[in-house]
């Protein structure tokens, strides 16, 4: 596959570009030096089969790089804000001996984050014959205008690379891909077709990557990638920026890249250092989560699954699959959005956060971290390092509720979480959090205080929602009027209790009262 070396040199992109194509028999070497007055970073990664070694502004969007510099135009720009999935690519990362592939929105990812990784675009999935995924889309008419299609193919391939082969898992993998033509029926049929073929061919116990290659889901070169990545994995990106003072610190970057792409291009960026080995652990009756842990990692963690069996149903409506693969816990908290889904969920667990400043640490309760709209109880040089909370006790119950105009890949009008300990019919302890009803994610302290010691029944809940109304100050915006948000919070508080304790709330009585 020599098509991938079609690199276009545009004077417009003043970059120093070195591309090494490493195939069995030929070695092609290009190099171009074009002047630019800004400091750049040297980055090494593999794109499809080619080694890319390049000096470039580290904040360059991966999507722009793929399309304009590499001239790989199968990856499409549909929105440049992570809301359509047309630019979905796979990023493979070597952790130990294992390579893990995740789908991401290439429009929200700075090129420097690819250092030492394997970037796969739709072109990198093409074989001489159609893959079974591609074939199903052709057969079932899962593509109409074709603009969104490469994104769907890449997302679904990512699903299989993560051994997610059931219909519902594959649907989940494309919850960040928008199609305006098909109405999705033919895409669902395509997935059913993929699923039925899979069960005939794949054996999960084998070397999985090899199995996928043998069954034509992936081109053969994938097998060589781990070995090739090892050669470049230890190269650290050279220092990045014009002025490290101004440089942005990036964890996942899915929100800041959306809001400040141009500023980051100007000021440069640094990445928060990751320790891939330990992200979530239990110790001494506490659960610890590193700030750089992604939504997806929390969702998939056995610890969270153990204590929060319903966690998938809560987290599956945070952003999209692609966003969850990239967005971090720390980013969600520090972003301080009034409707941050993860923040609202964790607030109800009343966690402590640890802030790091050079070598010193400081701990505060998460509920005390927010001062006013987008203003934090945080020094300029402090970095959110860790969050921890007590392991939920046996009699504890958790629920998360979110309403947005569209259930998936949408921002909440109101979200709320509850975590409580019950004894007989009474509430022993409770924390209720709410987003979208104040300038920052809110812990409903008065409401929670009122509920402690009370019996769970219709009367208590009706009283509690009245108190909740005194704690909130929603504003009207594009997510809903303040009247709506206020009403919605009331309804979602009802929903918590109706869902957790249906036997203690009389629906008829509630209906009559509201």
């Amino acid at each position: 596959m020599f098509a991938y070396i079609n690199i276009k040199f545009l004077k417009l992109f003043s970059i120093r570009l070195t591309i090494l194509l490493d195939t069995s028999k030929s070695k092609t070497y290009f190099s171009a030096v074009i002047n630019r007055d800004k400091v750049e970073t040297k980055i090494d990664f593999i794109c499809n089969q080619s080694l890319v070694s390049i000096s470039i502004n580290p904040a360059t969007s991966t999507l722009d790089f793929i399309r304009k510099n590499l001239n790989l135009t199968g990856t499409k720009e549909g929105c440049h804000e992570g809301d359509c999935g047309a630019c979905t690519v796979l990023v493979g990362e070597l952790i130990g001996e294992e390579i893990t592939y995740k789908t991401i929105n290439s429009c929200l990812v700075p090129i420097a984050s690819l250092q030492g990784k394997h970037l796969v675009t739709i072109e990198g999935l093409n074989n001489s014959t159609l893959t079974p995924i591609q074939n199903s889309f052709v057969k079932e008419g899962g593509s109409q205008c074709g603009f969104c299609t490469p994104g769907f193919i890449v997302s679904l391939t990512g699903s299989l690379l993560n051994k997610k082969e059931n219909y519902s898992e594959m649907i989940e993998s494309i919850d960040g891909n928008i199609c305006r033509c098909t109405g999705y029926s033919s895409i669902k049929n395509s997935i059913k077709n993929i699923e039925s073929n899979l069960h005939k061919t794949l054996n999960v116990d084998d070397n999985y990557l090899r199995t996928l290659v043998e069954n034509n889901f992936l081109p053969e070169y994938f097998l060589e990638i781990p070995k090739r990545l090892k050669k470049i994995i230890d190269i650290k990106p050279s220092s990045t920026t014009i002025s490290s003072e101004k440089a942005y610190l990036i964890a996942g970057g899915t929100d800041i890249f959306l809001q400040k792409e141009n500023e980051i291009l100007e000021a440069g960026l640094n990445f928060i250092e990751h320790d891939q080995q330990q992200k979530i652990w239990e110790d001494n009756n506490y659960i610890f989560v590193k700030a750089y842990t992604t939504v997806n990692e929390i969702q998939d963690s056995l610890i969270f699954k153990k204590y929060f069996p319903e966690i998938n149903s809560y987290f599956n409506i945070f952003g999209s699959h692609q966003i969850r693969n990239k967005a971090t816990l720390g980013g969600n908290i520090v972003n301080a959005s009034p409707i941050g889904d993860m923040t609202v969920f964790f607030l109800s667990l009343n966690p402590t956060i640890r802030l790091k400043n050079g070598k010193s640490f400081r701990e505060i309760l998460l509920k005390n971290f927010f001062k006013s709209y987008k203003t934090l109880n945080k020094e300029k040089d402090e970095i959110l390092d860790l969050l921890y909370f007590p392991i939920p006790s046996k009699n504890s119950y958790t629920n998360f509720e979110k309403v947005s105009r569209r259930k998936h890949l949408d921002i909440a009008s109101v979200n709320t979480a509850v975590h409580l300990v019950k004894e007989n019919k009474f509430i022993n302890n409770i924390s209720v959090s709410a987003g979208g009803v104040a300038p920052y994610p809110l812990l409903l302290i008065k409401t929670s205080d009122f509920l402690i010691g009370n019996e769970i029944n219709c009367k208590t809940i009706l009283e509690a929602v009245k108190i909740a109304q005194t704690e909130i100050a929603p504003i009207s915006d594009v997510r809903g009027s303040k009247e709506y948000k206020s009403l919605l919070l009331r309804q979602l508080l009802f929903a918590h209790f109706l869902k957790l304790f249906p036997e203690q709330i009389n629906e008829e009585e509630l209906y009559e009262q509201i």
């Binding site: 499409k76 033509c181 098909t182 109405g183 105009r405």
Partner: protein, 761 residues
């Protein structure tokens, strides 16, 4: 496997305008647009922008060599504003630089001072002020004024639908470069290459033969690129023409949403009269169409609103009036259904409200008044070959409406906060451009000497599968392997004076034109064979599966042989043809005539579950029996129906366009404007093809399918209303579409908000 376009799509190998390898030295344009909805430009300061990094040029209206005018129906739209801005997003200057980013950076340095004028966003307010774009349009049948006294029940009210963003995944884009002799060539993402050509020629002040427009495919159109691709192509062309360099203009998503028009919002007043059995006797309706700041296609869209004011029903006394109201919003434009869905929503609301008052199910009124063969529409045409009742009956037989209703009743009794709702939605949609002259198309077919075939028409592939349908037409006529046939990009030098790909009619018109061209080639080939084999005219010769048959006996002659021989004999292996729909006509002066070649029709059942605690809902199923005629391709037609239905569902539910009273769009990105995703779309969309339907007006008896099924989506509004009623049986709900979760929850608990208002004073 024949779908070569799909094979390219799934491999990411299909080209869209932004994917073409740009010519050396390509420059990039960015548009500076009005930040205010209405006012006079006092000053425009480009001093800082002029010296911005990488800047090549800035063009304003003063730089236009031809006419600063892009209005199609009415010349009321400047390409670049000279004096008075009329909406936020109206283009004022074109900024050209070395990269897209540098162009945007320079653009952001332009300063403008506008002396503001009053802003109108509401069509009724515009009507009151007399700001109509065209005079009121009236369609009438019978005598409405005298009919009211014969009615047992009269219901009147207001019905409103919001706009809808097209959200084609590929944004508006054009790449222009200069050609020799002062000409220009444009790769444009447009549904109408001829309209782009005409517009560019006018703006540049050159003749049409100097403008070449080429369109390979679109990443979705839905009407949004029928007329509104013109401006961007013209701007790229203007910059390229002036600079003598290639210029690319690709709108960002946010720009596309902000700068382009959408489906028209309508506010309407209706009055419906029925007898005690539910037979509709009279219907009067006034449509206030929110046209935006200039005419665009609004007058034609208003026509279709009036044509479809009675949807699938026969009503003996009708008066429908349409007002095309000018407002300070981007000019609204074509969107799948072209004004028809808005009209049908109003008659369905009227029926729903009448049924509510009578205490009966709306479907009783719907069924009772369904069109019968020969019934007359308010514009004088009588329905022929109507399969409406057949569709309705087959749907009922297959799914048992009464049974569904019973099981819903049981469910609703058993559940307090979860309620199911159902609605039936029929559709009858006229097929043809209502502007009769536009119902023409041409085709150009080349048979190359190796036997492969290249076809050009003006039909633009935008996902609707037209290329595959055209290939099937040619493959069928020649009886050859479909893989020998390629559909070329549409290009104005090969196909001239074409109508846009619109009105669901591209397969009909272009397919028929192609049929004529293929027939004449086939006739030439048959004569050539006769000559070669020395066969008399009275002996039948034909080609089947690429082999020549004499009478019914196969010969050794293959397709490649006969092509080679014909070529050597200097037979013309190219054919150009034109087709014009016969019979149709319409007299605009009296609003009567025979505007449609035929009707597309069918019926659907929509079922939903409403979570009355949270105000959110799930669309459970959409079940359809539709008359596709004799389908050319079942997968394509089914895909068109499914896609259209989900767009209709989105329009009625979560797709909410919000402007503030200063004309600023608040839902200007994909994070605020939500369209259906895979989880929103119903798992059960059941499309049934009506058996034994033929349509001589369509190619190979097929029927148009692009737009009509969108209307089924309207049913979800009434299904939701039905569920709300189950939750609050005593309440009368009056809610405009779309039925967002917010509107539903606030309506279900209106006592709560009353309470809030009372405590907050």
């Amino acid at each position: 496997m024949s779908r070569y376009d799909l094979i390219q799509h799934v491999r990411g190998e299909s080209y869209f305008v932004d994917d073409f390898i740009s010519p050396e030295g390509t420059l990039y344009a960015s548009i500076f647009f009005s930040p205010k909805a209405h006012g006079k430009i006092k000053s425009l300061n480009i001093d800082e922008a002029k010296i911005s990094n990488g800047i090549k040029a800035i063009f304003t209206s003063a730089d236009i060599p031809g006419e600063n005018q892009i209005g199609g129906i009415i010349p009321d739209e400047e390409l670049l504003v000279n004096d008075e801005v009329n909406y936020i997003g109206q283009p004022i200057a074109i900024v050209v630089a070395e990269t897209p980013l540098l162009a945007k950076q320079a653009r952001d340095k332009i300063k403008i001072d506008i002396s503001e004028l009053p802003v109108i966003t509401d069509p009724r307010e515009s009507f009151k002020k007399g700001n109509l774009i065209i005079p009121p349009q009236i369609f009438s049948l019978g005598d409405v004024d005298n009919a009211w006294k014969n009615c047992d029940l009269i219901v009147s009210g207001k019905a409103e639908t919001s706009g809808q963003e097209h959200l084609y995944l590929e944004t508006q884009s054009a790449l222009a470069f200069p050609t020799e002799g002062g000409g220009i060539k444009i790769y444009s993402s447009t549904q109408g290459p001829t309209v782009v050509q005409r517009t560019v020629a006018k703006v540049l002040g050159i003749s049409m033969n100097k403008v070449e427009v080429d369109t390979l495919r679109l990443g979705g159109g839905f009407g949004g690129k029928e007329d509104q691709a013109n401006a961007w192509a013209a701007m790229a062309a203007l910059a390229s023409f002036k600079l003598k360099k290639p210029v690319k203009l690709v709108l960002s998503r946010q720009e596309d949403i902000k700068l382009t028009g959408k489906r028209h919002p309508y506010s309407s007043d209706y009055k419906i009269g029925l007898d005690k059995n539910g037979k509709i006797i009279a219907y009067e309706v006034a449509f206030y169409q929110n046209a935006g700041a200039s005419a665009d296609l609004s007058p034609a869209i208003l026509d279709r609103t009036l044509f479809h004011s009675t949807n699938s029903y026969y009503i003996p006394n009708v008066k429908a009036t349409g007002y095309c109201c000018k407002t300070n919003l981007p000019p609204n434009t074509a969107f799948r259904g072209f004004g028809g869905p808005q009209a049908m929503f109003v008659i369905e609301t009227a029926i729903y409200k009448a049924a509510e008052k009578m205490g009966i199910d709306p479907l009783i009124i719907q069924e009772k008044n369904l069109l019968n063969e020969g019934d007359e529409f308010p514009y004088g045409q009588k329905i022929k070959n109507s399969n409406l009742r057949r569709c309705w009956n087959e749907l009922d037989e297959k799914y048992h409406l009464a049974r569904i209703k019973n099981s819903i009743e049981d469910y609703n009794k058993a559940n307090k906060f979860l309620k199911k709702g159902i609605a039936v939605m029929p559709v009858c949609f006229g097929i043809s451009f209502t502007n009769t002259f536009m119902n023409q198309a041409s085709a150009l077919v080349h048979i190359y000497s190796d036997g492969s075939i290249g076809i050009t028409t003006a039909a633009i592939e935008m996902g609707q599968g037209i290329n595959e349908k055209l290939r099937k037409v040619a493959a069928n006529i020649f009886s050859i392997d479909i893989n020998k046939i390629k559909i070329e990009a549409s290009n104005t030098t090969r196909i001239a004076n074409a109508s846009p790909t619109a009105a669901s009619s591209s397969a009909d018109l272009n397919g028929k034109a192609l049929e004529i061209a293929c027939h004449s080639l086939r006739d030439r080939l048959t004569s050539s064979i006769r000559q070669d084999l020395k066969i008399e005219n009275n002996i039948a010769v034909h080609i089947k599966d690429e082999i020549v048959y004499i009478i019914d006996k196969p010969t050794k002659l293959k397709w490649e042989d006969i092509i080679k021989s014909a070529f050597m004999k200097r037979v013309n292996l190219s054919s150009q043809s034109q087709y014009a729909t016969p019979e149709i006509s319409f007299n605009k002066k009296i609003s009567k005539g025979y505007p449609f070649a035929y009707y597309s029709m069918g019926t659907s059942i929509i079922e939903i579950t409403l979570d009355c605690l949270r105000g959110i809902y799930k669309i459970d199923s959409v079940k359809v029996v539709h008359d596709f005629g004799k389908t050319l391709d079942k997968i394509i037609d089914k895909g068109q129906a499914e896609g259209a239905i989900v767009q209709g569902l989105g329009w009625m539910t979560i797709e909410d366009i919000v402007y503030n009273d200063q004309g600023k769009l608040l839902t200007d990105s994909l994070s605020t404007y939500k369209i259906p995703d895979i989880n929103f779309s119903p798992d059960n969309i059941d499309i049934n093809f009506l058996e034994n339907s033929v349509n001589p007006m369509g190619i190979f008896n097929s029927k148009a399918i692009g737009e009509p099924p969108l209307i089924y989506g309207i049913g979800v509004y009434f299904a939701l209303m039905n569920a709300m009623k189950a939750f609050r049986p005593k309440k009368i709900f009056n809610i405009s579409a779309p039925l967002t979760p917010e509107k539903i929850l606030l309506s279900l608990y209106s006592n709560y908000t009353d309470h809030l208002t009372s405590i907050n004073g």
